[in-house]
């Protein structure tokens, strides 16, 4: 054993130097050191900074959004408990469709539920809605309401019926265009008696209205890309009809016979 130890101790060992490899490896390590330091700096400073920024954004959004959502819920509760709104909900099935807060007031838009459409084929060519509706249904149902809730006093300040002329006014030229469209329509000539006269022409209220903030005011506006429509109310011998005209397509889309009973 001692002999082996002596052999191991005395043996000539390789003493090799690789100066070029030493330098190359050092350069490589120093580059790696730099890269790691950059990554370390990111972990140390950038990551906590990003986390901090995210927390700050969440906090700010929390401050801005949560109280707003709370106020909206509170306004809706107040509006729905108002007798006039309750009556409209029962009779016309109006539903809240939009809400905006402005100057400690909440503006709530209630619109009626859209009635299912029924199409009828006429002369194998044109398809239009031929509907027999009650006077109340035909003349009033399409109207929505705007409820304004005073959030400080916690009560409904006003309930206004939405007038189609206030939201989508009809110009004289547009009224003329409506007349021209219905005059050309052969189907109407067959369906309506020749004695009919125009009682009135009014803009049709878009079914999907929304609220928009304009400066310090909240306004009711039609949906984006909506197609303007007008309603013509005809009358003849105690009977009345409503024809709906699409001004963009320049054609009639809906015909209703109003049942007076």
């Amino acid at each position: 054993m001692e002999e082996l130890k002596e052999k191991l101790n005395k043996i000539k060992k390789p003493e090799i130097e690789l100066p070029y490899f030493k330098t190359t490896l050092k350069e490589r390590l120093l580059r790696e050191h730099q890269k790691m330091q950059n990554r370390f700096s990111f972990v140390l400073f950038a990551k906590p900074a990003l986390v901090g920024l995210s927390i700050l954004i969440i906090f700010i959004l929390g401050i801005l959004i949560l109280p707003q959502q709370f106020m909206e819920a509170q306004a809706l509760k107040i509006a729905k408990s108002h007798p006039e709104i309750q009556k409209l909900i029962q009779e016309y099935k109006i539903q809240p469709t939009d809400i905006k807060l402005q100057d400690k007031k909440a503006y709530l838009l209630f619109m009626p539920e859209e009635a299912p459409k029924r199409e009828l084929e006429i002369e194998n060519q044109k398809r239009m809605l031929l509907k027999i509706a009650s006077e109340k249904e035909a003349l009033e149902k399409a109207k929505g309401v705007l409820a304004i809730v005073d959030l400080q006093r916690k009560k409904v300040a006003s309930v206004k019926t939405i007038r189609s002329r206030e939201v989508v006014p009809l110009s004289l030229q547009e009224e003329q265009l409506v007349k021209e469209v219905v005059e050309k329509e052969e189907v109407l000539k067959k369906l309506l008696p020749p004695t009919v006269t125009i009682e009135k022409i009014e803009p049709a209220l878009p079914k999907k209205l929304r609220l928009e903030r304009k400066g310090k005011e909240i306004q009711i506006v039609p949906p984006r890309n909506f197609q303007k429509k007008a309603r013509i109310l005809y009358k003849s011998n105690g009977k009345r009809w409503i024809v709906e005209v699409n001004l963009k397509k320049k054609k009639i889309e809906n015909l209703q016979l109003i049942n007076n009973q």
């Binding site: 191991l8 000539k12 060992k13 090799i16 130097e17 690789l18 490899f21 120093l30 790696e32 050191h33």
Partner: protein, 190 residues
Amino acid sequence: MLGEFEENLVKRAKKDPEAFGLIYDKYYQPIFGYILRRTANVALAEDLTAQTFLKALKSLWRFRWQNVPISAWLYRIATNEVNSYYRKKKSFKNVSLEEAKNLKSNVNLLEEVQKAEEELQKEKEFLLLHQKIAKLKPKYQTVITLRFFEKKKISEIAQILGKPEGTIKAQIHRALEQLRKLLEEDETKN
């Protein structure tokens, strides 16, 4: 005193490449020499040396001074690299060859390795002995190399391997026993 100096150097090396460069300059040759004497292969020793210092660099960030000299820490990494190479020879990833693609002049490196390899082949007595040592378990190869080729004290080997001195003494004894048998078998055959 030396401990305090090394402790500060490691602290600096975490942020300062120059300080890491000082550690590298001081320990490159002993570590490369140790790996070469463990492997008896210049190209492989290059690879494992590169791997050792890269690992040292990567673990430098979480290195906590525990009164273990830097040299012991580097020898430990080098030992693990060599033993790991022998354990998983097949799955060993040749890092330096991958890195070599990025080096500006591979020709110089290859020439240097070739010359070094020729020089190594001249050490016939060492290579014959290494052949026998290479037949031992990696842990016995480690203690033999550290004790007799690197001339490390038992206490230093204990520090490098993180084992009690008694265990190291026993391992050296067993390693020598096995090596003696291998050499005797060889002599009998001849």
